[in-house]
């Protein structure tokens, strides 16, 4: 079982990326489970994923932005025992600190994970503002990523994209960096990096 964690601030494009990845993985014959940790009293992303006939589990015990860690581990155990996933995609809330997930994963005791990948989606339209007002949250998400995706390439100006690249590279110079219009579909190279 491979684990892919897709992080990024609220509205950065995580759900759009996950929908496209899950559909690509499923088309390639993979059994995909999606764990959604949506902030807010009524989930929207999980409703949409179910409407598209994807297999979705909602992480929702109590205040989801704070109790995600325990819920994540217990849900991974359930999936391991009953579902037989090839790939588990986790979408944490865009307001949650990804460090909580990192701390939780060592408590997973099921079938060994073949890989753990972190993909972070960055909105180039708001990155300068978010880095100013939410510095620790945004910086942590970029710093820990194995793969970085600048989303909304169709909506951003060349200057906004260049600024986003520069800011991201100052925080994380090593992870592969993709620039994409996620609503238009995914480049095969990006899919290959994220779906083993």
């Amino acid at each position: 079982m491979h684990l892919l964690l897709v992080t990024g601030f609220l509205g950065s494009g995580k759900t759009t990326l996950i929908l496209a990845l899950a559909q690509a993985a499923r088309a390639a014959g993979r059994r995909v489970a999606i764990l959604v940790n949506e902030i807010g009293e009524v989930g929207i992303d999980n409703q949409l994923m179910r409407q598209l006939e994807l297999d979705v589990w909602e992480l929702t015990s109590g205040c989801i932005c704070c109790t995600l860690s325990a819920d994540l581990v217990s849900t991974l155990h359930k999936l391991d025992a009953t579902y037989g996933s090839d790939l588990v995609i986790v979408e944490p809330s865009g307001a949650a600190d990804p460090a909580n997930l990192q701390r939780a994963l060592p408590y997973y005791r099921g079938r060994p994970l073949e890989s753990i990948r972190w993909a972070t989606v960055v909105d180039p339209l708001r990155l300068p503002m978010l880095l100013e007002v939410l510095t620790p949250l945004i910086t942590a998400g970029i710093a820990q990523a194995d793969v970085l995706i600048i989303s909304k390439a169709d909506l951003a100006t060349p200057e906004e994209l260049a600024r986003a690249r520069e800011a991201i590279r100052a925080i994380n110079p090593r992870a592969p960096l993709h620039c994409a219009s996620l609503r238009a579909g995914l480049e095969p190279t990006l899919v290959a990096e994220l779906v083993p």
């Binding site: 609220l10 509205g11 902030i39 009293e41 009524v42 929207i44 409407q51 708001r126 007002v133 939410l134």
Partner: protein
């Protein structure tokens, strides 16, 4: 961000029009609503819009999703509404740093009512249960 509360607001809405509308008209209406929400949030006080999103589901797997992240960028739409609907059921999530739940509820209700009234319609809004008392959400002070 030290002084900005974070109180997510969610609601279920039923938009009712006097006559059936083409799908394109519903799409434009939803985009207009999200843009109005973003403007109203930005005008309501110091805040950072995290994500404003709305979703309508249709039989047969169809959907219409709208998303806005600021008052300065137009909302994005995915999916499409079928032609001929007279009513649309919408799930709404407003994730905004800096505005209390009560303000978001007022904005969601008033902006929907204004837009619908211009077309002779109306909107019933049912706010989802709010689990965090004002100012006590764990993300306050993030």
């Amino acid at each position: 961000m030290n002084d900005l509360v974070f109180e997510p607001y969610a609601a279920e809405q039923r938009w009712q029009m006097p006559a059936p509308l083409p799908g394109q008209a519903w799409q434009e209406l939803l985009a207009e609503y999200l843009a109005a929400l973003a403007r109203a949030c930005a005008g309501a006080g110091p805040c950072v819009i995290g994500h404003l999103k709305a979703l309508a589901l249709f039989p047969g797997g169809g959907y219409l999703r709208a998303s806005a992240v600021s008052a300065h960028h137009p909302p994005t739409l995915d999916g499409r509404a079928p032609d001929g609907l007279q009513a649309l059921d919408l799930t709404l999530n407003l994730l905004v740093y800096g505005l209390p739940h009560t303000a978001l509820e007022r904005i969601a209700t008033e902006e929907a009512a204004k837009l619908a009234a211009r077309r002779g319609g109306q909107v019933d809004t049912h706010t989802a249960a709010h689990h965090h008392p004002p100012g006590e959400h764990p993300h306050a002070g993030e």
